[in-house]
Assembly symmetry: D2
Amino acid sequence: MTVLQVVLAGAGRAGANHALHLAEHVPAASIAGVVDSDSDSARALAEQLGCAAHGSLEEAIERTPFDAVVIATPTFTHRDLAVTAAAAGKHVFCEKPMAITERECDEMAEAAERAGVVLQVGFMRRFQPEFVAARRRIEAGEIGDPMVIKSLTRGPGLPPPWAWDLKTSNGMLAEVNSHDFDCVRWLMGCEITRVYAETANLKGAQRGVDVADFYDNAVVTLRFASGAVGTIDGTCPADYGYDARVEIVGTAGLLQIGEVRGEALLMVQDRETGAVSPVHRTWPERFEAGYRAQMRAFAAAALSGGAPPVTAADGRAAVHAVRAANRSWQEGRPITLDQVLV
Amino acid sequence: MTVLQVVLAGAGRAGANHALHLAEHVPAASIAGVVDSDSDSARALAEQLGCAAHGSLEEAIERTPFDAVVIATPTFTHRDLAVTAAAAGKHVFCEKPMAITERECDEMAEAAERAGVVLQVGFMRRFQPEFVAARRRIEAGEIGDPMVIKSLTRGPGLPPPWAWDLKTSNGMLAEVNSHDFDCVRWLMGCEITRVYAETANLKGAQRGVDVADFYDNAVVTLRFASGAVGTIDGTCPADYGYDARVEIVGTAGLLQIGEVRGEALLMVQDRETGAVSPVHRTWPERFEAGYRAQMRAFAAAALSGGAPPVTAADGRAAVHAVRAANRSWQEGRPITLDQVLV
Amino acid sequence: MTVLQVVLAGAGRAGANHALHLAEHVPAASIAGVVDSDSDSARALAEQLGCAAHGSLEEAIERTPFDAVVIATPTFTHRDLAVTAAAAGKHVFCEKPMAITERECDEMAEAAERAGVVLQVGFMRRFQPEFVAARRRIEAGEIGDPMVIKSLTRGPGLPPPWAWDLKTSNGMLAEVNSHDFDCVRWLMGCEITRVYAETANLKGAQRGVDVADFYDNAVVTLRFASGAVGTIDGTCPADYGYDARVEIVGTAGLLQIGEVRGEALLMVQDRETGAVSPVHRTWPERFEAGYRAQMRAFAAAALSGGAPPVTAADGRAAVHAVRAANRSWQEGRPITLDQVLV
Amino acid sequence: MTVLQVVLAGAGRAGANHALHLAEHVPAASIAGVVDSDSDSARALAEQLGCAAHGSLEEAIERTPFDAVVIATPTFTHRDLAVTAAAAGKHVFCEKPMAITERECDEMAEAAERAGVVLQVGFMRRFQPEFVAARRRIEAGEIGDPMVIKSLTRGPGLPPPWAWDLKTSNGMLAEVNSHDFDCVRWLMGCEITRVYAETANLKGAQRGVDVADFYDNAVVTLRFASGAVGTIDGTCPADYGYDARVEIVGTAGLLQIGEVRGEALLMVQDRETGAVSPVHRTWPERFEAGYRAQMRAFAAAALSGGAPPVTAADGRAAVHAVRAANRSWQEGRPITLDQVLV
């Protein structure tokens, strides 16, 4: 069996999660090296994986033969890493958000196209069984024509400082809710045409986060090319658990994806408290199956040279919608998505 | 509108529950008096209801004009009260268990028949919406032929001392699980033919209850005339809540009635604890709709002189099955139900 | 016991629902007459209730002694009926939406105040057990400070033609989602300050409804005085059932009210179909407990002359928010609620 | 990394399921060959796995170097295969039921002990996350002392003919409910002391199965050494899905494991039908995580030579309890488990 040699860029939590799935569950891939500018993190993860550690992607390219890179670094570094990797003929898997601006996304897409390498964006919900089943049902017409879609993501944990600043990220709507912006497009089978957002800095304010434009709660209305409407909402940190759910109302029915309860356990100790069920606690646990299948799909696409299941155009569309939503609350007006956002 | 004048025998918790439903929700009935040998209880409830209190049913018969009696006293008093009431031409609603022995049930049935009065037994689950819907579905053949039925009742609260003694009650299987023995007959549409029971004194032992033949946990296997099989189980006290559920496996499907969760609320405060939903806390709350509809049905039957929806034969069948189950664990063998149990 | 004599104005579905609860479950009230300009409807319901039918409220005032009126007619008639009733010294219970404009609401409130009568608005969710429990928990601080609230109402049934026209109603956001606008204020304990709405005519378009400004789907973002944000969404007709749910994210947890599943039944017939549970089918069934408790509360307030639990100010606030939301989608911009909407 | 070379005995459905998990998800193991007396099945699976096919275990031993065997053949062949493998120094993973009789179990255990090889029995529920979590909670005392345990397994699919005959299997209680007999011991932390069973041939009768002692429904009462009681029930075929659930009532609470609903999806198309959720359709899907973790644990134990997490004594205890339950219904009496069953 041909095995895809992968270098992992980014030894943080997302990187370690990809590494785990690649190492333990993707026979068609093998980890050839870890890159992290923080050399301690890189070395620790590399040691655990039994591979080499590098201080930069360039170093890895120079010293190690490999086929593909998995980018799991902060958003503002994605463009440079992807362009460098593609230029060196490496296939690229890039975590969401794809980049900071639409222009960066375009540069990444062009680099990949020029080099003839696969460029896949990390929207793992498209591989999560209940999301896959839901999309199949919608496409089969089981709920008729979608009229309203509502998608939410909430998660525990204060985001890293670079994700607070709209210049190094696009804030919570990018870091947390990119998945929602992608999912609604994918499930509705059509594009978002207008967004309006309200945001609030509530928990951050309590915790003393005082960054311009920081927000930790957002609600967004959506209008779609089909005439349908929708909402996205996000809260981070939401210490009660990791929560990702979607519901779609169609002309012929309702479909709900996901639920607050996680494991199939229920315990009651006393009448006053009530019945208690475990919740999803973290995103690697909530979307374990999706993360695993996503890496398998990337390996398959890279090995065959086929089209990736999530494209640069998908990554760009989410960046575009997120930036429009940010502009909306900043300017206090709805934003139409065909406008150029500079 | 003709109104049924009702005297309530028994001013305890079950009596007060019937009184509430009669007074507040059954326009066709009116409470004419309360009887309780504990004259304080009787007086307190009577005052609340705005009616007369009596120390005995005989006294009530002598002093107050009324049409019907609702018996909610300890089981060992049911026979005498029912026979006295019937002899005086009063319709009789009798709480479960109907009586201590099959012979007592027969005497009650004969007294009612002689007097031409209605005698209804308090199996309120037959009036509870989800049980009614389930039965309709089974009868409509929606799960095919029933093969296995499992019914359970568990509730908080140490039972009163008279309910511990197999001579003044038939123990937990009678006081708590009578409903299950009735429900399985009603839902399966056929008779129980054999029972085997295992019982245990576990929580009572911890709490120092030391009565011969006392048990607070029981599991029972059932065989039905149709060839189907089943189980009943009971635990009391089960301090985690009031829990009553049934499930039926048929040749063409599964049907579940009831669930641990009560009110449609869910709360998560932190990831460690999980998602919490209220549970059913008490039987008057769990079966509120059933208790209400049951009293309406009794008033209707008594006013029209029609057949009651739950008959003396139903009450007797449950007593018979409970006594067979008790004999089973006492003798360590399965008991066939056509045997005479003296 | 003093009994409140009630005249029912409006013999349609909402009126019949109130009549049922008053007649069967509110001992403190009695129905003295039915008013409906459609004399057949009035006569049919009056006959069923055993009371007089009148062609107009004025006629009822002239011919029948009574204490209070329950208004369940189309929205555009509320103001006149309420003012007439108050002027005649009758207590007023008025279905939601309270009226078409804020000015009408003010006139109703002034008429009631002048006459010293109770004026209660029909937001029955405030009486529904799970909503009451949720509010108590929020007030007790169980989820910390509310950050995001999402409320939805969807229901089957094409609305009556007068409810399509923004001149005789305020459309779906008024007729269906008034409850949401009231609930979010009540649960959050603060006022809405800004709204933005997107609407769509999707099912109506399929069914040939061609009224200017008609919409059958809406999503709305909310901003609150506390700094919190939220959404409301509505779909009508949503033929899959009657669906009303709220969720609130606080700094210390998540609270969900309501669920799609109704009765506690589950059936599986085959693996392909899956497990099936009944849903809430209609609003009278979904909020039966709330409707009942609401009528009891109105009777109590009217008999005691006390303050009603839902005031004219509450009714007006919902009308104001709905009208702001309508203006929002009509003008394509967010609307701040302190603006005068003429 | 040292890799455990595994030969798979049995190319049926259970074997293919083990093969899948070994090949795709257990990096520490590799499949060295497939054995099946049906050489077509063996060859097809071997081809798919890219390994050699053998007509017998002896042939595999002779021709292929390997370390361990996974036995997934009909029950009546387990003893011979396990003894042969152990004698050749191979570690043994044996599907449940371990064997037909306690004596066979003893012979297998002795052979493994003599050879110093690992012998692990296939109770994968002990590796399934929600079962593992439940056991941890019980051991931590979260529900106090267990008083009642109820375990059920129901599944679709008519069993193969050899599983109907009590001589080549021990019937449904062995083939389907072995897992329950093991689980209750494991979760309760003590031994079953007495069983009583009722069985019925209902669906088989409809389908023309006419084998002596065949049954497709069973209910069993259990008594435990601790004084606790319980039930096990089984139905096969239960075409509505694959259903495995446990509930435990303790002195301080209730714990439920598993639920009928599988994937986190809900769909409502119309009010008449209700809300539909997917169910667990097959055992490989229901216990996917358990099967995977079980194979990892076997590989780890075999490679380290450590004690297996599920022992021959566990396998024997389940066989003993099942045979006691079969004798119970055959003789119409409860059976105490310290009796020798020949």
